[in-house]
Every structure is written in structure tokens, then in C-alpha cells.
């Protein structure tokens, strides 16, 4: 079977093209549809808005790609982002009087965000690799814990960043580099680096090997526990980075911050062609998946074809379709 398809490059090419480029084709189709429905769709303002808003989920989804590729899962990232945002705001508010309002305080806040993200990822990773509890269970638990902690920190309400600090911090979300908003720049950088790490480094190769068959990886001298742990830590740090970009947008954190981000991130990873049960991951696909998800919402808002309330339904259909297409590809091989 394989011999036949390989000897007829035209057919093989077509087939691979469809599978590899499927998400891209879907993305282009959505862009064309959006442009056709509303001339403002391709305006600088709208494009920046869509990309900057998808940056949070996007940065997290890149980390999620590594976790899923190595056969894991992390449901806690949404709650984790809210918790990190809360801690970050509390720290900056507490330090502002003594350190003065300025970039110093914000830098400390950023370091705290990264440190808390790293620690949270470490907790998830250690529970999965050392205590040998299933990733689904571990992160279901920490999801509840982080969510509850932010509610407690905010005393059931909202934690707000002091307005003076917020004024200094604002440009991190609203301004940019050569007219490209910072969140977009960071998202792009994370995607490019992630793609290189996944494709070109032993770490990426080991992730795929572990997700493909943990036993084979173990027998091939791969440090399975350490690589697994690293994927959760990496994801935690990326959640920290996403939060750093998110806090200046609203300047607050509450128990409703980051709700359902984990599912959107996982959905983006799957739409992008990464296999849910691990063994194969594609970072650029994840980026495309994130864009597809946020474009659907954007188009529904701009056009009055379908009620925006049906956003979730359409996203759901897309996710299921993506998996069906993945399965077909498998059956064909």
C-alpha cells in the first residue's frame, strides 16, 4: 500500500498537501469570507484587534502543543492565568508605594508572573511524573485550586491594578513595534521559537517519541520523566508570559478571568493537526488553529449573517471536523 502511494508522487503529493495544508486552507477561506462580508474586516484596526486578542490563547496553546505531543494534557492553564494575574497585581500594588510608580515595579511584576507560572507548571509536572497521577486528573485538580485561589485572593470580587501603575503598564498591550502590537510580536516570536524547538531540537524529537510510545522512548535512553516535566514547566512559563501581556489590557483579575482558556487552547492545538493522544505535534498548525477560532468569532460579530451567540456552536463543529479529517488521514495510510 505504502509502496504504491510512494511510487505515484502526484497522488501522494495531493494527499499530503490536503492534510498538511488543511488548516491553512480553512484559515484562508475564513479570511476571504470575512473580507467579502465586511470591507472593514481587513482594516488595520480589525486585524490588530483580532491578533492581539488571540495572542493570550496563542502563547498558551504553543506550550500546550508540547504537552499534548508528549502524551499529556493540561486543563489548569485558564485558572493558572487568572491566579498569576492576581498575584502579579497584588505584588505590583504592594510594591508601588515603596518602589515608586515606574518600570521597576512592572519588571518585578513580570518576574513574579514568570516565577509563579514556572512554579505552577512544576507542580503539575511533578504530580504527573513523580506521583504518577494521570495528567487529566492532576490538572483537573489544580484547575479547581488555582480558580479557587484567585477567587479567595480577590475576596470574591475583582483585583485591580493601581491606576498610576496601570498607566505605565498600558503600552505593553496597546502599543507596539513598528505599528505591530506587542502581544502580536510576542505571539509571533513564541510561535517561531516553538516551531524551531519542536522540529529541530532533541527536546522536540523526544516529546514526539514519548507521545508516540513511552516504552520505546525509555528503552532509547530518553529521560522520559524529565522531558515530560519540562513540557509542563514550559507551558507554565508561557502562561506567565501570556498573563504579562493580558494584565495591561484590563488592569484587573477576577474569578472570571481566563475562564475556558484551557479548552480554547486545546481546541487550537487539535485543529492545527497535533494528535490529541500524542506522538505528533505541529506548532505552526497550532497558531493557525488559534487564528481560525478567533476569526470565527470576529466574523460573526462583523456580519449579521448568524447570531454571534452561535460562536461556540460553530467552533465546536470546526473542532469535530478537524478530528474527523485527522482520522481519515490515518485510515488512508
Amino acid at each position: 500500500m505504502t509502496t504504491d502511494t510512494a511510487r505515484t508522487p502526484a497522488r501522494a503529493g495531493l494527499r499530503i498537501d490536503f492534510h498538511v495544508w488543511g488548516p491553512v486552507v480553512a484559515l484562508l477561506a475564513l479570511i476571504a469570507l470575512g473580507a467579502w462580508l465586511n470591507p472593514n474586516f481587513l482594516s488595520y484596526g480589525n486585524v490588530t484587534n483580532v491578533l492581539a486578542r488571540s495572542a493570550f490563547i496563542g502563547i498558551i496553546a504553543v506550550g500546550m502543543t508540547f504537552v499534548i505531543t508528549s502524551g499529556g494534557l493540561d486543563l489548569s492553564v485558564g485558572s493558572m492565568a487568572a491566579f498569576i494575574a492576581g498575584v502579579m497585581i497584588l505584588v505590583m500594588n504592594a510594591l508601588a508605594p515603596s518602589m515608586g510608580v515606574g518600570w521597576g515595579v512592572i519588571l518585578v511584576g513580570m518576574v513574579v508572573a514568570l516565577a509563579v507560572g514556572l512554579a505552577a507548571g512544576l507542580v503539575n509536572g511533578l504530580l504527573v511524573t513523580q506521583a504518577r497521577i494521570e495528567a487529566f486528573i492532576v490538572t483537573l485538580g489544580t484547575m479547581g485550586i488555582f480558580r479557587s485561589l484567585i477567587t479567595w485572593l480577590a475576596d470574591g470580587g475583582t483585583l485591580s491594578l493601581g491606576s498610576a501603575v496601570r498607566e505605565v503598564y498600558r503600552p505593553v498591550y496597546y502599543s507596539g513595534l513598528f505599528g505591530i502590537a506587542w502581544p502580536i510580536v510576542v505571539f509571533a516570536a513564541v510561535v517561531v521559537l516553538g516551531e524551531i524547538v519542536m522540529r529541530k531540537t532533541p527536546f522536540g524529537r523526544h516529546c514526539a517519541a514519548i507521545g508516540s510510545n513511552e516504552q520505546v522512548a525509555r528503552y532509547s535512553a530518553v529521560n522520559v520523566e524529565r522531558v515530560r516535566l519540562a513540557t509542563y514547566v514550559l507551558l507554565g512559563v508561557l502562561v506567565g508570559i501570556a498573563t504579562i501581556m493580558y494584565v495591561p489590557r484590563l488592569g484587573s483579575a477576577s474569578s472570571s478571568t481566563g475562564v475556558l482558556w484551557e479548552l480554547e487552547a486545546i481546541a487550537a492545538v487539535i485543529i492545527g493537526g497535533t494528535v490529541l493522544k500524542g506522538g505528533f505535534g505541529r506548532v505552526w498548525g497550532t497558531a493557525v488553529g488559534v487564528l481560525i477560532l478567533s476569526l470565527i468569532g470576529n466574523i460573526l460579530n462583523l456580519a449579521d449573517l448568524v447570531s454571534p451567540y452561535l460562536n461556540g456552536a460553530i467552533q465546536g463543529v470546526i473542532i469535530i471536523l478537524a478530528v474527523v479529517l485527522q482520522r481519515q488521514k490515518k485510515a488512508e495510510r
Binding site: T2, H206, S212, N213, V216, R218, A221
Partner: protein
């Protein structure tokens, strides 16, 4: 079933049964008759065709030629369910029990008693309790299977068979997983079943056991019946003799003179979990050291302990220096590489291509920060050439390669780590004869080039044809180390079966 006096006529009989897998015939015109109230032992080396015949008798396989007679009338079973309906039940070596269900639920699985649309739990529980009591087990119908002992599971399997009114019970190495005491209980139950008129087919590698419980013995070798006799006429020595003794072809390269080099690996007092106890041996430079023994003797576990996959105790010295190996990485650093017997489960990523598989073990040789894909491709080209890997394309998924080519790729992968000591577990399992010869040649050249090789194999011919010295293991211990003229099937089997004096020092 109730006839207390054994009926001398065969309940189930196989006549001139042949079975082929693809072009290969593995069973050649064998006869076997099971008589009510008799234990019929079927013995033979691994791959002699015992399992195949058992599967044919119990409906899992159909014979290619020949016929089955049930009560003297020809029958053919198209599934194991049909055979079970006829009263023939196979008890698998690894049990077919749903671990999370209770004993009672397992006994009646798939044939639950009902009252209307609901399960009649009361009736089932009563029946299960009756069956279990009959088998003298203490386990109750409400116990969860995951929580009961291995011997109790065996009893549940038997109870399950009885609940299906089994007239013929086929038992595949039932004592392989039992302790001696548990086995004694099993033998008592077998006696009871016999007395009730059940015909039993029994396989085991333990000849003392066979001598003790069998009424009739059939010996298979290479898919043919080489001996059958009433148990009284066959002692353990004769059984062993009948099992071995096949001619060695010139599959194997001319043996190099035994290595006299310095020891490169010396293992002392090595124990792995509860499976391997106090094993000691030495491997010399340029030597091929065979590891023989029955399945379950602890050879694979010993090797996996050596490379740090399993927890172990004991001293290991590589080239005279004590090393502590806790992981495959440690083993690699010490220059030891291990080729697993489980190619698809532990050796290769079947969903990936050849390049990713080839370099996985020695990936650090191809990467500082980033992986040098071009160097990988070059390595693949060399590996394909050197090991004669025949793949339809370079991009083929490894799962689509033939077993022989997978094994060659696995060899190439292992050699890329440049080990000084290579441990090969079942080097030719499931591989055609041509590829076997290539692999033997490769192992031979490996040793000739000054590396040291351990070959673990259940194929006697392979051990004898390749090894300079042979370590025979039995029940987790080193039963003897054979050299020169002692390397023959008879001596190896006698050590493996525990018939040879006490442990050779």
C-alpha cells in the same frame, strides 16, 4: 459428565491436523485424542506447535487440513464461542478476566441469567458460590477480581469453564504463574475434575509436574508429534530427550576460537526484583555469550536490570571498574546497549519514519542545540547499506516494514550508540530464515571486531550455533555455565529443566 468411571472413548480428537500461517506450515499432520477423565500432557519446546494445536481444539483457529472429531463425529468450530457451546474451554495463560468486575460477574460474563429484563443476581450468586465451593476456594462471588490472588484467578477461570459445562478443559501452562503451593491446590482440583469425567489437555514446561499429574503424554517438536505414550512409560529424561535433538544446519557462521580476552563485563550477586536472584557471570572481549533457559526463567529481566530499566541489586563491573546503572542513559555511558525482544512495543516507534527511529538512541551525536537532519540522512543511508534494510521508500513508516527489516533497523539504531557490549534479546524472533542468517553473520562479525555480545534466545539452535559459552538460567538463577563440548541441546535442556545436579559453580 457424571460418569464416574472414565469412558475410554475419546471425547475430542484431532486427526492428521495441519495448520499453515501464510506459506509456512507450523503443524504437520498431528494426532491427539483426549479421553474423558484423563489428563493429557502436551510438551515441547517453544514454537513446537503446542499453542497452535490448543487454539485449533478450542475454536480460536481452524485447521488448514485434517479433522476434529467430537464424540467420534466430525465437527468444525468457526469461533471459540462455538467450541465453548460444545463444552470445550481454553484457559489462557494470561487470564481473560475483567479486573474491575466481581468474581460472579466474571463467571457469568456474556451469558448472564435473567429474569425479565433484569439480571437474576440471586440465582447467579448462588450458582457461583456453588461452583467455587466445589473448587474448594475461599474466594467469594462478591470479591473483585483485581483484588484476588493469581491462583484464585485461575480458580475463577476454571469455575467459569465449569459453568459452561466444560467436558474438555485446555490449560495453557497453568502453573507458569503459580507458586508451588498454589500449584498443589491446582493439582488437587485437576484430580477432582478428572474424577468427574472431564478430559484435560495440559501443557507445561515443568517436566516434574507433567510426570506427576499426566495420564498420557504427547511430545511435539517442530510441528510434528515425535512421541506419545502413557505417562508410566515416559520418565523426565525421556521427555527431555524427545523434545530436543534437531539437526543444526549451516545457518551459522564458522565459530571463531573462544575468546580469551580480559573480562569486559562482570556481574556478581545480581538480583532483579523478585524475578532474578543472585546471578553472576562474566563476559569477555570478543565473546558471544548465550543465555538459554525457559520462557520466564528471568533472562530478559536480568538484562533489563543490567541496563537500568528495572531496579536491581548487585555489583556490575565494566572493564574492571564498578559502575552503577540506573537508567538506559547510564548504560549507554558505560558502553552497554540492549536490543529488546519486543520490537514493536519497546524497540521502534512504528508510527514514525526510519530516520527518527534510527537516531533516537544516539540523538546526542546528531545535535548540539539543533538536530543536524542532513547528518541523520547520511547515517540512514549508511545504515540501509550496512544492514541491508530493504524499505519501499526512505519515508516509509517503520510499522509498515517487515519484521526482518525492522530488526535490522533496530540493530542499526543500537549500533549507532557505538556500544562495546551489545545485549541482543531474541535476535531472530518472527524473522524469516534468510534474514536470520544475515543477523547471525552480523553478530559474528561484531564479536570478531572485538566487541562483546550477549545473545538471549529461546531458540536452542541459535544459542548453540552462535555462542562461545552459554549461561543457562532456571527460575531466576544461573543454573550453569557451559563451555565447549557441553554446549549441546541435551545438556542445556537438562540445566534449564533442573535435571542436572545442583548449581554448577
Amino acid at each position: 459428565m457424571n460418569a464416574p468411571a472414565p469412558d475410554r472413548r475419546a471425547v475430542l480428537e484431532a486427526r492428521r491436523v495441519c495448520r499453515s500461517f501464510g506459506p509456512v506450515e507450523v503443524l504437520h499432520e498431528v494426532d491427539l485424542a483426549l479421553v474423558a477423565g484423563e489428563v493429557h500432557a502436551l510438551i515441547g519446546e517453544n514454537g513446537a506447535g503446542k499453542s497452535t494445536l490448543m487454539k485449533i481444539l478450542s475454536g480460536y483457529l481452524e485447521p488448514t487440513r485434517g479433522e476434529l472429531l467430537l464424540d467420534g463425529k466430525p465437527v468444525s468450530f468457526s469461533s471459540s464461542a462455538e467450541a465453548e457451546d460444545a463444552g470445550i474451554v481454553l484457559i489462557h495463560q494470561e487470564f481473560n478476566l475483567a479486573e474491575q468486575l466481581t468474581v460472579e460477574e466474571n463467571i457469568f460474563l456474556g451469558r448472564e441469567t435473567r429474569r425479565g429484563v433484569f439480571l437474576d443476581r440471586k440465582a447467579m450468586k448462588a450458582e457461583a458460590a456453588r461452583l467455587l465451593a466445589e473448587l474448594e476456594t475461599r474466594v467469594g462471588p462478591d470479591a473483585r477480581v483485581s483484588g484476588i490472588s493469581v491462583s484464585d484467578k485461575q480458580m475463577v477461570e476454571i469455575a467459569k469453564a465449569l459453568s459452561r459445562n466444560a467436558r474438555v478443559l485446555v490449560m495453557d501452562e497453568p502453573t507458569a504463574v503459580l507458586t508451588n503451593r498454589e500449584a498443589a491446590v491446582l493439582f488437587r482440583q485437576i484430580e477432582r475434575l478428572k474424577a468427574k469425567g472431564t478430559a484435560i489437555l495440559y501443557t507445561s514446561h515443568k517436566l516434574d509436574e507433567v510426570a506427576r499429574i499426566a495420564d498420557r503424554i504427547t511430545v511435539f517438536r517442530d510441528g510434528t508429534r515425535v512421541a506419545h505414550a502413557p505417562a508410566g512409560e515416559m520418565d523426565e529424561d525421556r521427555m527431555a530427550q524427545a523434545m530436543v535433538g534437531r539437526e543444526l544446519s549451516n545457518l551459522f557462521p564458522q565459530k571463531a576460537p573462544p575468546a580469551t580476552g580480559e573480562p569486559v563485563l562482570s556481574v556478581k550477586g545480581f538480583s532483579v526484583g523478585s524475578v532474578v536472584a543472585d546471578a553472576s557471570f562474566e563476559l569477555r572481549r570478543g565473546e558471544i555469550l548465550g543465555f538459554a533457559g525457559l520462557v520466564g526463567a528471568g533472562r530478559t529481566e536480568l538484562m533489563e536490570g543490567l541496563i537500568g530499566i528495572r531496579e536491581s541489586r548487585g555489583t556490575v563491573e565494566v572493564a574492571g571498574r564498578a559502575v552503577s546503572i540506573r537508567s538506559v542513559r547510564d548504560a549507554r555511558r558505560a558502553g552497554i546497549a540492549y536490543l529488546t525482544e519486543d520490537r514493536k512495543g519497546r524497540g521502534l516507534l512504528t508510527a514514525k519514519g526510519m530516520r527518527e527511529n534510527l537516531t533516537l538512541l544516539a540523538l546526542d551525536r546528531f545535535a548540539r542545540l539543533a538536530i543536524d537532519t542532513r547528518a541523520e540522512e547520511e547515517a540512514l543511508t549508511r545504515a540501509i547499506e550496512e544492514f541491508d534494510v530493504r524499505a519501499p521508500t526512505r519515508q516509509v513508516r517503520v510499522g509498515n516494514l517487515s519484521g526482518g527489516n525492522q530488526q535490522k533497523l533496530l540493530l542499526a539504531k543500537t549500533m549507532l550508540a557505538e556500544p562495546d557490549i551489545v545485549i541482543i534479546d531474541e535476535p531472530t524472533r518472527g524473522i524469516d530464515i534468510g534474514t536470520k542468517q544475515q543477523i547471525y553473520g552480523f553478530i559474528h562479525r561484531l564479536a570478531a571486531s572485538g566487541r562483546s555480545v550477549i545473545v538471549v534466545s529461546s531458540e536452542m539452535a541459535e544459542i548453540i550455533g552462535l555462542s562461545h559459552r552459554v549461561v543457562v538460567m532456571r527460575a531466576g538463577r544461573v543454573a550453569g555455565v557451559l563451555e565447549g563440548g557441553d554446549i549441546n541441546e541435551d545438556t542445556i535442556v537438562r540445566h534449564a529443566m533442573g535435571l542436572e545436579g545442583r548449581e554448577a559453580a
